[in-house]
Amino acid sequence: MNQDGQNQDGPSQGGQDEPWVSELQGRCPEWLRGEGPAADVVLSSRVRLARNLAGMAFTPRASQDDSELVMTRVRAQLEQLGTDRLSIDLRGCPKERGRLLVERQLISAALLAGRQRQAKGDANQDPRGVVTWLGDERLAVMINEEDHIRIQSLRSGFDLPSALRSADEIDDAIEATLDYAFHPRLGYLTACPTNVGTGARFSVMLHLPALAITGDLERAKRAAHDMALAVRGFYGEGTESAGDFFQLSNQTTLGRSEGMLLDEMALEIVPQIIEYERESRRKLMNTQRVLLEDRVHRALGTARSARLLSSEEAMKLLGLIRLGVVLRVIDDVALPTVHGLMLAVQPAHLSLAHGGELESGDRRAARATLMRDRMKSKGAG
């Protein structure tokens, strides 16, 4: 399959007339399967590479024509790669469909909004898009984000090396015909100097509910800060961490190679936090088992009976249920079901499942209904 998701009918209702919409929103992506190393604590691992084409203005200062040229060149290069490719032009993409991509972490909210270019005019007409692969979603290439090219590679569990390999391959494939902006001393040049050098950002999504219960979470977060890591919520920059999900990322990109940065995360910092969380879980199970079981089962009870749920409450419930599943306190819910719901309860997923936009009140009811349905039996999802 090779689809071009460019919208032909103007920015109207987000319906299911594009096959990729129903295909994406009905599935739990590969990187949220709950498999892979240390999956009890680590949901997913991500590597992002920022690249720019040589001799052209970075996106914020690019003209419409420059951006158009970048789109054409990068998409043409990616066209030669793999089957099941899904190439989406975000110009005029209906709102809900675009949000679906944001909720699935295939694109950033900024790319959807199209406000990277500083030139005046209709931001929605800025040439920008994403290329991903259906039936996988572990790889996505954003075009004309703050940098011309942003390669993102995701893996389930704690598996940064595999994510880096895959990002590295697609990077080589793009560079096979396109020249990157590269400086002898500074490496890959990026619109923001904080990304210059490797242009690489390594992130892991951690689930730290036991540290939250024992009150040691702040200490773990401070330790991460001290080790120059950025700590964010599930949906990235500026988001709350409902459900006790935290994203840890390196901030340094210059003076250390990709391998060195990866080692710092993979061998030193993250394993310590994983062990800290596991130790807290063991302690809770040994000394406060009833308290833990009570919290987890109350969450499951609410998920199985609530009639109205806000997005934040849903995430909190899912966080506790997830803890119950990995500790085998809950034995009739599968991990992919919980992970799938973390996406499915988000606004665009809910709206598209209902064939159009939902008002906030209706959405809360739809969210609760979905939660009840999926939590009914093992493996449903």
Partner: protein
């Protein structure tokens, strides 16, 4: 300094600075404005806090716009994004502090090098006139890169981070090969 007025040209404040603005066609206009008005109108303060002496030398170094895209450093400070690859050279001096703070003292890239370019330039099959040096830098850059890696190795050993030290040692080996014009296609960043 009789030619510098003592009032801001835009408001009534009497603390006046000598400011410059670079127009899209790269011409420079001079204004005398207070710090607030200068920032608001995208002027580059020649020397914040000190009434300026309008010497052309200073004007040249501080208010220079990127020759490729016309971005001024004041504009960069406002938006936090550079305009094009050439901005890194144009604002090299001003960016040093920013990079130092955000990159934990990292000054030299020691990671992946675009593989096709490296291959072409080591084998001489690329565009004529594009030497390996334009990709990796001259001897000075390479020596500095090795020095920075050596410093990292020392720290890693000091802190008993032996796996990290081994990784840095590999990096030094690769950097040394490249510095000597070796044709290692097994370049940094390839390992995972």
């Amino acid at each position: 300094m009789s030619d510098v007025p003592d009032k801001c040209a835009h408001c009534t404040k009497d603390k006046v600075f000598h400011d410059l603005k670079v127009l899209p066609d790269n011409t420079v206009v001079e204004k005398h404005a207070c710090e607030d008005c200068a920032a608001e109108q995208g002027f580059v303060p020649l020397q914040v806090g000190v009434p300026a002496k309008p010497t052309s030398e200073k004007a040249g170094t501080t208010a220079r716009a990127c020759p490729e895209c016309g971005l001024t450093f004041a504009q960069f400070k406002r938006v936090g994004r550079l305009g094009c690859p050439a901005c890194y050279e144009a604002f090299e001096r001003q960016l040093t502090g920013i990079l130092d703070r955000s990159q934990e003292g990292g000054t030299h890239h020691v990671g992946k090098i675009p593989r096709r370019l490296l291959r072409e330039r080591t084998s001489g099959t690329g565009e004529p006139g594009e030497s390996l040096e334009t990709l990796l830098g001259g001897a000075k850059h390479r020596a500095e890169r090795l020095k920075a890696l050596g410093e990292q190795l020392r720290k890693a050993v000091e802190q008993e981070q032996y796996e990290q030290a081994a990784r840095i040692r590999d990096q030094i080996r690769t950097a040394s090969q490249l510095a000597g014009g070796g044709s290692s296609a097994d370049e940094p960043g390839a390992k995972a």
